[in-house]
Amino acid sequence: MDQYELLSGNEAIARGAYEAGVKVAAAYPGTPSTEILENVAHYQRIQSQWAPNEKVALEVCIGASIAGARALAAMKHVGVNVAADPLLTFSYTGVNGGMVLVSADDPEMHSSQNEQDNRYFGLLAKIPVLEPSDSQEAKDFTMQALELSERFDTPVILRTTTRVNHAKSLVKIGEPQDMVVKDYEKNPAKYVMTPANAKGRHTVVEARRKALTEFAAETSLNRVELGDRRIGFITAGISYQYLKEIMPEASFLKLGLLWPLNEKLIRTFAAQVERVIVVEELEPVLETQIKAMGVAVSGKDIIPREGELSEEILRKALDIKPFERSFASAQALPVRPPILCPGCGHRGIFYTLKKMGLHVSGDIGCYALGSAPPFGCLDTTICMGASITGAFGMELARGEEFARKCVAVIGDSTFFHSGITGLVDLVYNKGFGTVLILDNSITAMTGHQDNPGTGKDVKGMPAPKISIEKLVESIGVNRIQVVDPFDLKHCEQVLREELAAPEVSVVIVRRPCALYVRLKKPAFVVDAAACIGCKACLKLGCPAISVNGGKAHIDPLVCVGCGLCPQVCPKNAIQEAGENHD
């Protein structure tokens, strides 16, 4: 009997890589892509690695592919920006072993800083883009992508969105193929992209585009479902599922291969229905190309361009009766934004930065929550690595005085990802800046992945642990201090020293992530007689502390005993449990 499992899109992609005989897989974590490599790493025969960033991950896979193995790289949408340089030239060289790049896009920005539409990378790099609409397709398309890659000598993008990566549906489990490593022969005309060779390869890429365009007419990746001819939808990915939910009887051209498109396929479909609507999340990528063919369709005139789609949004756009909403509270409902966890080391440092009134050039990680109340500390958050460089630019724009009131904050994983080159720039170009490396010794935001500083690899095996201190020192930073963010006085004192110093300083703020290495200290308690209800402790933004009836209260189930609140209480009203005598 066939075996089915309930898998997330990410688990299914990992399964597909395994069944298709992938030998090398590399990724940098990023929601919603992270679980792909985590699951790939469970298959012992696959060489898996967390790379320090996406460019590195892709380049490792490029090398593996050229050397003859099948390879998979996975990253979130903005990660492809980091990897874009190798990607666009890898398009020219083509592959030897099949290579698939998973781009996990995040419409609605559930966990992202923008909602760019990476289908455009297909047009830009001239490489095929496949988009699955559920977990079964996630697995099948991963396998087909690797075959296509070898057949057409091209890397292939598997583009997913959060609702496919993180939704679970049934997947048929298959037998793994043998892992084949093809012969490798040195071939400079194909793999050494000097201008002369690249010219030759560009011609090959154009021929490939034509061949793929013809393939798009015959492949089962694209599917016509003719039903009621009054409306024909051209759609792909999760939008297809929403539409089938609403109008299962309509006609569909369901695309699995999103680039290149085949004009005849689209014209034939359009001719069979009265009205064609292109339904796609985010940008009018399909619509623009279809309109350029001269086919009349509607699309973004009725379908929103921002955020993700949903059954509700599509019902509205298509003028279909919505579900009745019978219940809504009459009370104002407070939002529940994400917060720094109890015991988080970032709390101590943001409390200090806020107290000192500093400008903060921010970065991406859990510490982006330093922008939320009660801290509101961050001046900027742009992309991974931009904290150090951004602070340097501010310093150049506004002068040394400004630099004395400004710090860059960057996490350990982010420092390895793309902070190092910024620090090199700051030292080399004689800046003054103060850089705080918030070292919680894990990649926390994305769910605790190891990184070059943690001493473990993706399979949890011991690995060389790269020392941030030594790295920073070797770049030429003379002033390096290490502080514990649970020691507020020391943090402030060190920051004052380093901000005053007329050269680059690095302060390593070190405390393991509280979710990863659990603190097991007893909860603190408030001595109600001593508490004056001044709310100084609330400035820590700790979920364990609230003030009720003029007195602070610490929830013993939430408190992990980090010891920050006794340091900020002006009346010594917060004590370790057992200290007071009740």
């Binding site: 939704a167 679970k168 929403y242 579900f323 009745e324 909403r325 019978s326 219940f327 109340p373 979920p543």
Partner: protein, 193 residues
């Protein structure tokens, strides 16, 4: 709930409360009964103590992994404010199962907002079918407050078509070995509610 229409269940809570495990067990039960199943959740940022929701749908054929607002047969809420937040998802004759627990969100802690009052009463007064239970406290009696998710599943199980044995199998299959006994007890407690 009939077998012909998809069954739509929403599980709402606060990041870290174990909504994901609950949806996993429920998904396993529906799958083992031969249904098509889809479920959707969001990992990432919101897990840091934020509001989280998981959608579970099963039936003969399921397309969308998301429950549409106004179309949930059951909402299973791990926290009272989150119950109220997702109530517009409930069908007119749907059922709200709510853990009687209040976790203050940061705006309330910081004194910038008020925690809503009499949530269970308000939901009932609107005409919703409500089943409230002190699931966290009941779970604590069984050894661990975090098993509140399985207590709530026990309550839910009384309203779905699956035989008890399927639930117990799914729990055995899903939770860590050393926690199986405690979770089975928590499930029984919920089922007797």
């Amino acid at each position: 709930m009939t077998k012909d229409n998809p069954v739509n269940i929403l599980i709402a809570g606060v990041g870290g409360q174990g909504t994901v495990l609950a949806s996993k067990i429920l998904g396993e039960v529906a799958k083992s009964a031969g249904y098509d199943v889809k479920q959707s959740e969001i990992h990432g940022m919101s897990q840091r103590g934020g509001s989280v929701v998981t959608h579970v749908r099963y039936g003969q054929k399921i397309y969308s992994p998301l429950v549409a607002a106004g179309n949930a047969d059951v909402i299973m809420a791990f926290e009272e404010l989150e119950a109220l937040r997702y109530l517009p998802y409930l069908k007119k004759d749907g059922l709200l199962i709510v853990n009687q627990q209040q976790m203050l969100p940061m705006p309330v802690i910081a004194g910038n907002a008020q925690y809503p009052k009499d949530i269970v009463e308000e939901a009932g007064a609107m005409g919703a079918q409500v089943k409230a239970s002190a699931a966290s406290a009941l779970a604590l009696e069984q050894g661990d407050a975090r098993a509140a998710n399985v207590v709530l599943l026990g309550i839910l199980s009384r309203h779905l078509e699956f035989p008890e044995e399927r639930w117990l199998d799914a729990i055995r299959k899903t939770v860590k070995d050393k926690l199986v006994d405690m979770n089975l007890r928590a499930f029984e407690v919920g089922r007797r509610q």
